[in-house]
Symmetry: C2
Subunit: 327 residues, 2 copies
């Protein structure tokens, strides 16, 4: 019976952007205005099982054990349409996905979700896309998911169009012993999701200026990683995060993701670095802070962070690998 083979399970990690993705030149295809660069987060795992099943009358999506409907289901079903088209099949699928990290931690799970889904669904459908093709496919589900496909330290090449807009690994996870301390200061759902936020980017009078500076910052960041130069990394990571949030705050309507606790963490991290500690801070589209540190500083930094007012939780992740089949 054919059904037995039309299933697969994949694992992928979320990633933290060192150089941010904010704004598309094509929202539908999720073609970004600029390149971006990230580190995959080991230990934070999304595991997704996909089975195409002739008995199904519609796609189903179960997230952390809960049957999904509405927008969440539609986003998955639309993504499966791409896979069905590529594979030339017309079966509906059941998608079961679970994260081993709390959704209340404010870690963007869509990158890991669509990286795992792209791999599991194509494998289940009998496709072998290769890393670039898989990264490109994952991008259609969530832009930053393309960086979770190769994993490690990954750069999203913006490309000239759909065909060449995907991510490549610039260094494997073991290249540099960094840690991401994810500092949770707010557990509420964000009011404006990333997809909606990307569409607002163009309304900021700072977006063109931010975009113009990205190639130089990408170069700095890539070099810092390849040379394992923490101070250079710290400066460009913090500057790039500041640029993105300046764009957000000056959008129309403005996006204020930070809380006072966000700032308390950021400024303490800067003060620690001024004292000689290898730590820096970056913030995605939300209030929580990712503190990047050399592994040897991680225990010290975690203790300091936990003592700051407003800090609810600190999660820890090392550089992680790419999306992979696990059964």
């Amino acid at each position: 019976m054919i059904t037995a083979k039309l299933q697969a399970t994949a694992l992928a990690h979320p990633n933290i952007a060192f150089i941010k993705y904010w704004g598309n030149r094509d929202d539908q295809l999720r073609l970004p205005l600029t390149g971006s660069l990230s580190m995959a987060l080991d230990g934070l795992d999304t595991v997704t099982h996909v089975s195409f099943d002739p008995d199904l009358a519609a796609d189903r999506f179960i997230l952390n054990g809960m049957e999904q409907s509405g927008a969440a289901l539609n986003r998955v079903a639309s993504f499966l349409d791409h896979v069905r088209q590529l594979a030339g099949i017309n079966l509906f699928a059941q998608v079961e996905s679970s994260n081993n990290y709390p959704s209340s931690a404010g870690i963007a799970s869509s990158a890991a979700a669509f990286a795992a889904l792209a791999l599991a669904a194509t494998k289940a459908a009998g496709l072998e896309l290769g890393e670039a093709g898989l990264s490109r496919l994952a991008r259609l589900g969530s832009g930053s998911a393309c960086r979770s496909v190769p994993g490690g330290f990954a750069e999203w090449l913006p490309g000239s169009g759909d065909a060449d807009s995907y991510a490549v690994q610039i260094a494997p996870p073991e290249h540099w012993d960094l840690v991401d301390l994810i500092v949770v200061v707010d557990r509420s759902e964000k009011a404006v999701g990333s997809s909606a936020g990307h569409k607002l980017a163009a309304t900021s009078p700072l977006q063109a200026l931010r975009v113009a500076g990205v190639p130089e910052r990408l170069e700095q960041c890539r070099t810092a990683i390849l040379m394992r130069d923490f101070e250079r990394l710290a400066q460009v990571v913090e500057l790039d995060s500041e640029w993105m949030h300046a764009v957000m705050r000056t959008s129309n309507p403005p996006l204020y993701y930070w809380t006072p606790a966000t700032e308390v963490v950021i400024w303490n991290v800067r003060a620690w670095r001024a004292q000689g500690h290898a730590v820096c801070a970056t913030v995605d589209a939300g209030p929580n802070v990712h503190v990047i540190a050399l592994a040897e500083e991680a225990a010290w930094a975690e203790a300091q962070l936990r003592a700051l007012p407003g800090v609810l939780e600190v999660l820890k992740a090392k550089p992680g690998g790419g999306a992979r089949i696990i059964n």
Copy 2:
């Protein structure tokens, strides 16, 4: 008749702080937690005439032609009490003060106001306090007024107590051909004045960290001025401004003085400097931005600033002198 001699007129300029004053160790005496450093603003003039008059039954305060009452009058009357005590006189005074710059420009006028009042009132009362004594007296009216007494590039020495907390000129106005382009983006009255703001500083978990870094930043700023090193000045001026606003935003209740237009100006200035222009930005307790530039860049920068969205007005000031008697 004695009355003819009991009057004097003085002129003083406001100043822009390169290293900010934010938070007191003694609110009553306005003894600051840290030193601070500023440039007096030539062409922005407060002229104050004081006459002690035996015919008056109370102090009077006329500001820009309008008779004042309530808090504004009380603040002047309390200040005159210090002068009366020093001079051993018990006459009431009429204070007439006017500014040649629009109050809607959001330039803190209290520094110039109390510097001019301190000089005019002591002169009218027959006192000769000398620069340090006058600076110390002006401080009791408004902390930053002590820096407008010596003028030029002035550093407020926090001192060990009331007696030695005053400002000194570290370089005269002609030492360095800088320009302050005051970029007005909001003409509304600020909701929280500086005196109230200083009292909130201690509620920020970042204030102690900010304060700890001030001596190093003062040293950097002083050296940058003495060496006329614009890049060094720019970096420390922007960092110190960022620290103060981080404290404000993390106070309880938080103080958000910036508008989106504030950020648009700040980030454009940073981008221009990255392109090689000698410009930097600093923001006082309000939304308007002071863009400090080398004089040779001022015309170019002013034109760029006027073209930014949200910019209502740009005023221009060179380094100014100290408080002086003008009649």
